[in-house]
């Protein structure tokens, strides 16, 4: 069973001094769906990059299945931990299929060409995200939402055990917001670890099993979504007065102007 264990972890946020009392000690378990919530600039993205070993933490350690991630070879790590970025970098022009196939990179040795199986994985990821007809299109000719789905398809083709997703619902219309969250929930149900940052607290309330709340000025809290997503916890998080109602047994928060 995959698990990602954080011990006294403090992400290195630029221009902010690390406060040891804000350290994180928790374990993301297989089958759980974690939402990281917090105001703008609190370090949600930085934390995800740190979890993916793209950034060294200011303090503490991260272990993947009891092995510190710093001791794992980068390629081995990429076979197990995948991340989707919030901002999609514009490299050289490439087709959607080429982009999704890059997800197979960690699984291939230098001399290997992509096999039938890799292609099949890429195509099934494209189909899962309704992008099959876009396979040969240039990535930069897609809309923001379509690019977001292409990035998710690439992550899906990577078949990681730990899914780190930075704002999965960005740019997506309501239909695809539901489709994408459904896809992530499906991965969690297949015993993957799913950790995502979210700006929409209602998406977290509806989909996440666990949440991590990052406060700018006090220690973070984490635990089951059902018990932590309360007005009492969220109002200081966003420094915003909220009204709460319920829909199908899940809380629904609305900001009050």
């Amino acid at each position: 069973m995959t698990k990602l264990k954080l011990t006294q972890l403090l992400a290195a946020i630029p221009n902010k001094s690390a406060q040891p009392t804000h350290a994180l000690s928790l374990t993301f378990q297989a089958g759980q769906m974690w939402g990281i919530l917090g105001p703008n600039g609190v370090g949600k993205t930085t934390l995800l990059h740190t979890l993916a070993a793209l950034k060294a933490p200011a303090l503490g350690t991260i272990e993947l299945n009891d092995q510190p991630i710093t001791e794992l070879h980068r390629l081995k790590l990429a076979q197990q931990i995948g991340i989707m970025f919030q901002e999609h970098q514009d490299g050289f022009p490439a087709s959607v299929l080429e982009t999704v196939l890059l997800g197979r990179f960690p699984h291939l040795s230098p001399w290997e060409m992509e096999s039938e199986q890799d292609l099949a994985l890429a195509y099934s990821a494209l189909e899962r995200l309704d992008l099959a007809e876009f396979a040969q299109r240039a990535l930069n000719s897609l809309s923001g939402g379509e690019r977001q789905r292409a990035a998710l398809a690439a992550l899906m083709a990577q078949t990681p055990d730990v899914w780190l997703v930075d704002e999965p619902t960005n740019h997506l219309d309501l239909h695809y917001q539901v489709a994408v969250m459904g896809l992530l929930a499906e991965q969690a149900s297949m015993e993957k670890v799913v950790v995502m940052s979210l700006h929409d607290v209602n998406v977290a309330a509806q989909w996440c099993s666990h949440v991590l709340l990052l406060y700018p000025d006090r220690p973070p809290i984490w635990g089951k979504a059902a018990s932590l997503l309360t007005q009492q916890n969220l109002e200081p998080l966003y420094r915003q007065k909220l009204a709460m109602t319920e829909l199908n047994g899940k809380p629904l928060f609305v900001p009050i102007a």
């Binding site: 993916a52 793209l54 980068r74 390629l75 081995k76 790590l77 990429a78 076979q79 995948g82 991340i83 970025f85 970098q89 514009d90 490299g91 050289f92 022009p93 490439a94 087709s95 080429e98 982009t99 890059l102 997800g103 990179f105 960690p106 291939l108 230098p110 001399w111 060409m113 992509e114 240039a138 990577q158």
Partner: protein, 312 residues
């Protein structure tokens, strides 16, 4: 995939035979007399080989620089490597040094410039390619000023030689073997690295997330591209345009898979410079034109045509 790659490579090789200097090849194959054989084997062949290798080196170096800097305007000279070589070579001409010694100085100049740029911007990584680019461009500008200064102060009878060197000139290219010795292993080394470079072309963060050791790959690419450029410049002076345009042309035709683009660049770059040098030798024979002028005159319209038609 593999078959298509081989076929493209094969097709371009065929093209190069058709394109390359007809007279030279005919002479090469249909020679009888001993005198002509010496002429071809000792004069023409080394020069053609040097031209091909120079073009190949420059095109591969250009393709690498474009990936490294993720900037389509990058060419092998953008980071000032040829500037360093030029200053050293012009100094050699001014001091009356020629031949192998001049080539050696040009090479040292290129290496010096590379180390200077690298030392000043050693922290490659996420945002640091911009730093590398700026450092390189500024150092190139510095070399440019020195070159102008040397030209202004040079005695008149040395100026034509200096200008020819600056525009690229293969008539002193006596040792093509060094260039080949670098070009062939480079192409072999780059084959397994092609996919890593594909990933790097999508941005350093994405590459790192997919398991590429970005820092060491970037260092390797920078030093390799610099070495290729230094050898090319040493062999033939600063032949412009090849390194910028060949990779782009190939991308328009072949897409952006580095496993295809890099070896294809070596072949297409070689073809272009071989052809250009043949024209340079023959158009106003027995006088010679600088080969860099021809590469640009051939390349500009072809490139513009592809750009109009293509998908850049």
């Amino acid at each position: 995939m593999c078959v298509s790659m081989l076929s493209v490579v094969f097709a371009i090789t065929q093209g190069s035979v058709n394109l390359s200097p007809y007279a030279v090849w005919q002479a090469l194959l249909g020679q009888g007399s001993g005198l002509n054989q010496t002429l071809v084997l000792e004069l023409r062949l080394p020069r053609v080989m040097a031209a091909f290798a120079t073009g190949g080196l420059l095109a591969v170096a250009g393709a690498l620089m474009q990936i490294l800097l993720r900037n389509p305007l990058a060419d092998p000279y953008v980071l000032g490597i040829s500037g360093g070589a030029s200053v050293a070579a012009l100094a050699a001409i001014l001091l009356g040094i020629s031949g192998v010694l001049m080539s050696g100085m040009a090479f040292l100049g290129a290496v010096l410039s590379t180390l200077l740029v690298f030392g000043l911007s050693a922290r490659l990584g996420n945002t640091a390619t911009m730093r590398l680019l700026l450092t390189g461009v500024v150092i190139a500008a510095g070399w440019g000023a020195l070159i102008t200064l040397m030209l202004a102060l040079a005695p008149p009878h040395k100026i034509p030689g200096m200008l020819y060197w600056l525009m690229g000139d293969l008539s002193y290219a006596s040792t093509p073997w060094l260039a080949w010795l670098v070009l062939v292993p480079t192409c072999l080394i780059l084959m397994p690295l092609g996919r890593s470079l594909n990933v790097l072309a999508r941005g350093p963060l994405q590459a790192a997330a997919l398991g590429v050791n970005v820092k060491s790959l970037e260092r390797f690419v920078f030093l390799l591209a610099s070495l290729l450029t230094a050898i090319a410049v040493t062999t033939a002076g600063s032949v412009g345009f090849v390194g910028l345009v060949i990779p782009h042309m190939l991308r328009m035709v072949l897409g952006n898979d580095q496993r295809l683009i890099l070896p294809a660049s070596a072949l297409a770059g070689g073809c272009l410079v071989t052809l250009a040098d043949t024209l340079a030798r023959t158009v106003i024979a027995p006088e010679q034109l600088p080969v860099g002028v021809i590469t640009a005159l051939l390349g500009v319209p072809t490139f513009l045509y592809l750009l109009q038609r293509g998908r850049l």
